[in-house]
Amino acid sequence: MIKGLVRNIVKDLRIEFRSKVVISLILSFSVIVTISIGFASGGIIGSPMVHAILLWVIIFFSGMNTSHLFYREIEEHTALFNLMYYSPEGIFVSKLIVNCIIMVAVAAIAGLLYLFVMDVSVYNVSGFAIMVLAGSSALAVCTTIIAAITALVQARGGLFTILSFPITLPIITVVIKSTTQCFSKEIYSSWSAILFLLAFSTLLGVVSYILFPYIWREF
């Protein structure tokens, strides 16, 4: 199973780097939106909470393009080809890991760019880094199966966002609160937030792992 996971992960990353569809979509979106916000606000927003909200809105909506990981398998008729060699559970875990890698990378880039463009002071750098890592991973874990559902109905556009938003609201609430503390001079402890994110994403990850084979079989 581990060999299968590694081969699937390598395959997906290789295809993404060659086709550059997901990466360019996500990066373009996050860069354009961040700079647009900078232009519109003149760099003056002020409140740590508003900065936290804007940052996570950018990361969340950038992440809504990762449904292409599954969409490509359906469009290019490779889903059954993959199933011939690997189990649905293995395929799900590999997609989840690739989704996490892409989301963390995008969140890191979007985060750094946002801090630079909006000139935001971070009073707790390690806490901020941990929250970006944990929050983006949690978002990726929770939305992977939604991406599969959206790909199976071949619905581009807003369906992925509509389906994901209620599910990810607990994560967004917690990370915005924690990030606000990082941007302000409040005493900050990330442990409760991290524990919540870990618990929530583990629960949803396990349930998604159990349910994925039921949807990823007839094409």
Partner: protein, 203 residues
């Protein structure tokens, strides 16, 4: 010994495709599904391979006389069909390494026979449709499947490709259960028997 047994399977989309079809295929046997366009050949093939569920009836699968769960059948199967493609952004070598871990001597030999060895390091989306069909045949046969599902396997192949395909099917026949959906009488003749679908009835 691998066996597929279908009992009274029926399928309908917006119209009734076929009903009450029963058949059995075992290792060493080959069945051709023939019929006019739209008669449900590909659908019957998909049902027998557990790619699609029937509306009624059941399909049973046995490996070495023991029943196996239907959802595991695809792992025993090699499939060549229009609705299955290899990864177009990878080379043939990368596709083989993805599926099997490494390029073995068997793989090299098969690629030579299919006249694909010299193209193995080119990305698949640069291939013609005939070359892509040869890739699919290679990937299915390298798996040494217990059941081979072929849906119009000779489509897009030139005469030499078709000749190699027929040779490969004859070589693998004693070791595999083969089910082929085809319009081509030359392909159908490779099989021991046929299921003829016509106006929703199989014979």
């Amino acid at each position: 010994m691998f066996t597929i047994k279908a009992h009274n399977i029926s399928k309908r989309y917006s119209y009734r495709l076929f009903s009450n079809i029963s058949c059995s295929v075992s290792t060493g046997e080959s069945v051709a599904i023939v019929g006019p366009n739209g008669s449900g050949k590909s659908t019957l093939l998909k049902i027998l391979g557990n790619i699609v569920s029937p509306d009624s009836g059941r399909v049973e699968y046995f490996d070495k006389m023991e029943s196996i769960p239907a959802h595991t059948v695809i792992h025993y199967a090699g499939i060549v069909a229009p609705y299955i493609q290899c990864y177009n952004h990878l080379t043939l070598t990368e596709n083989i390494i993805f599926a099997f871990g490494s390029v073995t001597d068997d793989a090299i030999e098969l690629l030579h026979r299919l006249d694909m060895y010299q193209h193995k390091d080119k990305v698949l989306h640069t291939y013609s449709t005939g070359m892509q069909q040869r890739c699919k045949i290679a990937m299915a046969l390298l798996k040494k499947p217990k059941v081979l599902l072929l849906d119009e396997p000779g489509s897009n192949l030139d005469d030499s490709g078709r000749k190699i395909l027929f040779e490969l099917i004859k070589e693998i026949q004693p070791f595999t259960a083969i089910i082929m959906a085809t319009n081509d009488s030359r392909e159908a003749k490779l099989c021991h028997r046929s299921i003829v679908l016509d106006k929703g009835i199989g014979a």
